[in-house]
């Protein structure tokens, strides 16, 4: 029995932390988020060299061939410093192709995604905000040369920088399909929005008569299960990144509470300050436990993997936004300033809430899974 990380994973955590402290301190993060793409291509290339971008990709396709638990370790660290990058989106796109791409599609895309020379993302949500697989409305119609897509995908994470979109749609006959849409292809338009969390980027994908040739259709049969699996992996990964961010926010606030004095004492002496911080610690430990288990269960294909993911994301979606608010509140006036970093963390917790399903979505899903 060992509900902990392997030595290699602990080493990786140490290396990741050192690397990020050195190359991606929050001062740099602040600069990067002001750029149009919202992240540093240079850092991304370094992350690729470290193997992070190809962590999940099988070795025969140029990746490292490791599991979600290992990726989670990296994401906790990137979360801690709010390091902006399309790591989660890219990992999901690669996982989609690894799960149901043909050998040709895998050979075509996986090495570049693994090396970070192409950036992938999942484009799934549509108007109506239905995350569940059943909510896919975008229809693919038979046409000369393949399937024709007309419509839009919203809230597409990392759209502004993505080269490749894994798009969910309804195939003729009603089955769920997944297709590969390249930036720059005929009829493809990518819009960038200002994200609530500046260290994340978001946009929309408009499809106007985009034709998916056979080389762009990921699975011939129903891809509903794959899509469901991708949404679960996404939920587990954003939770890991979110809990890392929460740890960062707690550390910043603890330090502030030790340094800031009022009424002749550090404010951390007062229970009105120290008790909310202790409650944050309880939530962080609990989310870690739930998220670690969820990642393990997904890796192992355990029976309770779906339940485990929804529990982790539901708990995190409730607790972390509150944590973000409390951290700002405990800073007093400076917490409200643009200059102090804690506000960036608050924004991350707000970004996390809907990402891959909020508490409402996951609790209802748990209810449905329980009845089944």
């Amino acid at each position: 029995m060992n509900f902990g990380f392997t030595e290699e994973q602990e080493l990786l955590r140490g290396e990741a932390r050192k690397f990020l402290d050195q190359h991606a301190p929050i001062a740099n993060v602040r600069k990067w988020v002001e750029t149009p793409e919202g992240f540093s291509r240079e850092l991304w290339a370094q992350m690729a060299e470290l193997g992070w971008t190809g962590l999940l990709v099988p070795e025969e396709h140029g990746g490292v061939g490791l599991d979600l638990v290992t990726l989670l370790v990296v994401l906790e660290e990137t979360g801690r410093t709010l390091c902006p990058s399309p790591l989660i989106s890219n990992s999901l796109a690669a996982r989609a192709i690894a799960l149901c791409g043909s050998p040709l599609q895998q050979a075509r895309w996986l090495p570049e995604l693994a090396q970070g020379t192409k950036i992938g993302t999942l484009a799934h949500l549509e108007v109506g905000d239905g995350l569940g697989v059943d909510h896919v409305r975008l229809e693919a119609r038979e046409t000369d040369g393949g399937l024709r897509l007309d419509g839009a995908k919203c809230a597409v994470a990392d759209a502004p920088a993505a080269d490749l979109f894994v798009v969910s749609y309804r195939a003729p006959g009603g089955a769920i399909g997944l297709g590969l849409v390249e930036r720059g292809a005929a009829g493809v338009e990518v819009e960038s929005f200002e994200a609530l969390d500046p260290s994340k980027s978001i946009g929309a994908l408009r499809l106007d008569g985009v034709v998916l040739g056979s080389d762009a259709v990921l699975a011939s049969a129903d891809a509903g299960e794959t899509l469901e699996a991708l949404l679960e992996i996404g939920a587990a990964l954003v939770t890991a990144e979110g809990v890392g961010a929460a740890e960062g926010a707690l550390a910043i606030t603890v330090q502030f509470a030790n340094e800031r004095e009022q009424f002749g004492k550090p404010i951390g002496t007062y229970q009105g300050v120290k008790h909310p911080l202790a409650e944050m610690f309880v939530d962080i430990e609990s989310i870690k436990s739930l998220a670690y288990y969820a990642a393990w269960a997904l890796d192992e294909g355990a029976d309770d993997a779906s339940v485990a993911v929804s529990r982790a994301k539901a708990y995190a979606s409730c607790a972390l936004p509150k944590l973000g608010i409390d951290c700002v509140q405990l800073h007093g006036g400076v917490g409200y300033t643009w200059e102090y970093d804690i506000q960036l963390y608050l924004k991350r917790t707000k970004w996390l809430r809907p990402s891959f399903g909020d508490a409402d979505y996951h609790y209802e899903r748990l209810a449905a899974l329980g009845d089944a």
Partner: protein, 385 residues
């Protein structure tokens, strides 16, 4: 990560399972002396005091085996692993660590056999959370200690034969933790007066205990004079990973789910109300977090790292759940919850009782505020208040 048991651990689990299959009869089929026989059998297997060294009569079980044993027992709703609750939880461990050979030989077998009950005389009217400020006076006269003072909240004092008692033998001390001495006191000693206290639920499980010139032989001292604080603290620390408590909560939330299916409220089963469903699922999620936290703490222990203040995490989660589950059950019961006992009261009024019993856990085990102080000061490194 790996949740597999080793072959040896698996063999032990199978042994526990087959013992349970054989000896844990369904409730309807149990003989009158079922519980007595049960205790005798688990004693023979050395499962009482399973973590204690074999030379004092314990089982010498490894940490993982202890968890397996508790886990299997809790899942099957078996009776407890021994009847002398406080003796097994902290009096025994304190005697094993600090007792003289005579004390070990005298008390440990009786704790294991559950010959009688022990009670714990720590809290005083003016010393609760701030236990080390205790004042119960004690002076040495020749070969005897003479005790004058009062204890309070002493659980099961009225049914106990012995008490583990903290007294103050020295008042001129540098810190309040010094000058405290631990004594083992027979409850039938002259000068002890036990007065039960009724709690809000109506029962009387704890008492005030008054000491009026109570004389105890010096050989009843546990540890050195003035060392009482260390004696108690290290023994309380032997309470650990909360694995068994989690099973109780898992069962309770399942029963509350079942209640919500049976109880009709606003013309439909309560479970069909999304707000009720959400609260049940939130509680389930918190219980699962507690279970998994416990597994992470256990992993630490298995790696040989001592468990520190992080156990306060699960104490806080549990305290919250004890209150929340009581309230949730009453919310499900709707206006039936206004009746404590009456015709048609669901489950014999169990949920109403439960909603009045949470202080057993929430106050009795150290209050949430104190747990939060522990986390904030010892883990996060904030200044002491």
């Amino acid at each position: 990560m790996d949740f597999q048991l080793s072959p040896k651990e698996e063999a032990f689990r199978d042994e526990v399972r087959s013992f349970l299959d054989e000896n844990l009869l369904p409730e309807g089929e149990r003989a009158d002396d079922f519980v007595g026989t049960w205790f005798q059998k688990i004693r023979e297997k050395r499962w009482v005091g399973f973590s204690w060294p074999r030379e004092v009569g314990g089982g010498g079980g490894s940490i993982m085996e202890q968890v397996i044993l508790k886990d299997e027992m809790a899942q099957r709703k078996a009776p407890p692993l021994g009847s002398c609750f406080m003796g097994l939880a902290w009096v025994g461990p304190a005697i094993i660590q600090y007792g003289t050979d005579e004390q070990k030989q005298r008390f440990v077998p009786e704790i294991l056999d559950g010959t009688y009950h022990w009670c714990t005389g720590y809290s005083e009217p003016d010393s609760g959370s701030d236990l080390a400020s205790l004042k119960c006076r004690c002076e040495r006269e020749g070969d005897e200690y003479v005790i004058n003072g009062q204890k309070i909240w002493t659980s099961i004092a009225m049914w106990s034969k012995w008490m583990i008692l903290l007294v103050r033998t020295q008042t001129a001390v540098l810190t309040k933790h010094d000058g405290i001495t631990c004594l083992l006191v027979p409850m039938d000693t002259k000068g002890i007066d036990v007065r039960p206290i009724r709690n809000m639920s109506g029962g009387a499980m704890f008492a005030e205990v008054f000491f009026d010139d109570v004389r105890v032989p010096v050989e009843n001292r546990l540890g050195e004079e003035g060392q009482g604080w260390q004696v108690t603290i290290s023994a309380l620390a032997s309470e650990r990973s909360s694995i068994a408590e989690v099973h109780g909560l898992i069962r309770r939330i399942a029963e509350i789910g079942d209640l919500a299916r049976r109880k009709v409220k606003n013309g439909r089963p309560a479970i069909e109300a999304p707000s009720i469903r959400r609260r049940i699922l939130e509680a389930e999620t918190q219980i699962e977090a507690m279970r998994l936290n416990g597994m992470r703490f256990l992993t630490k222990q298995l790696k040989g790292e001592p468990l520190g203040s992080e156990t306060s995490v699960n104490k806080l989660l549990r305290a919250k759940l004890e209150v929340d589950l009581g309230e949730l059950a009453l919310e499900i019961l709707g206006s039936d919850a206004a009746v404590r006992k009456g015709e048609g009261t669901l489950d014999g009024g169990r949920w109403q009782d439960l909603s009045l019993n949470w202080p057993d856990v929430v106050i009795g085990g150290g209050t949430p505020n104190i747990q939060k102080n522990i986390i904030a000061e010892r883990i996060l490194g904030l200044p002491k208040d």
